[in-house]
Symmetry: C2
Subunit: 152 residues, 2 copies
DNA sequence: TTGCTATCATTTGTACACGAATGAATTTGC
DNA sequence: GCAAATTCATTCGTGTACAAATGATAGCAA
């Protein structure tokens, strides 16, 4: 509290950029952007969550796969993907069976209903992406997507 | 399956941009970017989660506030912020008390230890942001932050 | 073979995250 | 000044998310 160190204050502080502003941190902004996206998704696709849709979409793209493999493809850890698949199975959108050659693996596949559901949702899902990016110009939107991919 | 409609196919499809690629959707990228940020945060600040740190940082910035107010400031819903504050309280980092004038409100405040902890973490928290953005040039990083803020 | 190691799935425990319902206290509209 | 609407906090239920521990199976090496 003496005045003598006053002139050195700015040089001494550990925080070179001044006060910490939560609102400017990437992590906080990522969480908020995610929140808004979630809300838009829920508004347009009320009967499925984004992770559930991701699993169905991936399954549609690559065909039958093991649970772990599917988890890698949609960036979910083993415990998480199990929960998602359990719920999809309970609703009859996917089926599971044991792998022939490797009895550790669980083979996940789209049911006819699951296929119908996911194909019907591709258009709305695109609309979700569009609406999420709506505050930006097309050029800005593609920049954002490109940069996000780089830090993922 | 007849060949007659072949020439009209592209005009008829509901999906103007071809196949749906999960990896290109903003929502999927936001989730993955968030994941990477979470991992970086956990590696550098192992004893606190990002939401917990956000609450402490905000409390440090604005002083004592009600639980709901705090929730608004850190973009958490009432039920979520309650859980976060409960855990911080259990660890002695925040204290709670009833508001004088408005007995509905719960007044949340930093304890001395909470203040010490959050002040010690500002520098590591900055490092988390830096590392998250490390794959980008400084210019790209600031573009990303700006665009993220716009869609939040 | 025997054992070492790796992989796949499951379970448990903790921590967000949010909708919906509830109850208490305050504010408002008239 | 009182009834209606609002606000604040809590609780419940569901759904991610991930670390860590466990058990089963497979592949590899000596």
């Amino acid at each position: 509290m003496s005045g003598k160190e006053g002139l050195l204050e700015l040089a001494d502080v550990q925080e070179p950029e001044g006060a910490y502003h939560l609102q400017d941190q990437v992590g906080f902004l990522l969480r908020k952007a995610n929140q808004r996206h979630l809300a838009i998704f829920a508004a347009r696709i009320s009967d499925l969550t984004p992770p559930q849709f991701a699993v169905l979409a991936k399954l549609h793209e690559v065909g039958d796969t093991s649970q772990n493999q599917l988890g890698n493809l949609v960036a979910m850890d083993a415990a998480t993907v199990k929960g998602v698949i359990d719920r999809l199975k309970a609703r009859g959108l996917v089926g599971i069976g044991r792998h022939e050659a490797d009895r550790r693996r669980l083979l996940v596949s789209l049911t006819a209903e699951g296929r119908a559901v996911v194909e019907r949702l591709f258009a709305p899902a695109r609309a979700v992406s569009r609406e999420t990016l709506a505050p930006l110009s097309p050029r800005e939107a593609s920049t954002l997507v490109r940069l996000l991919a780089r830090i993922s």
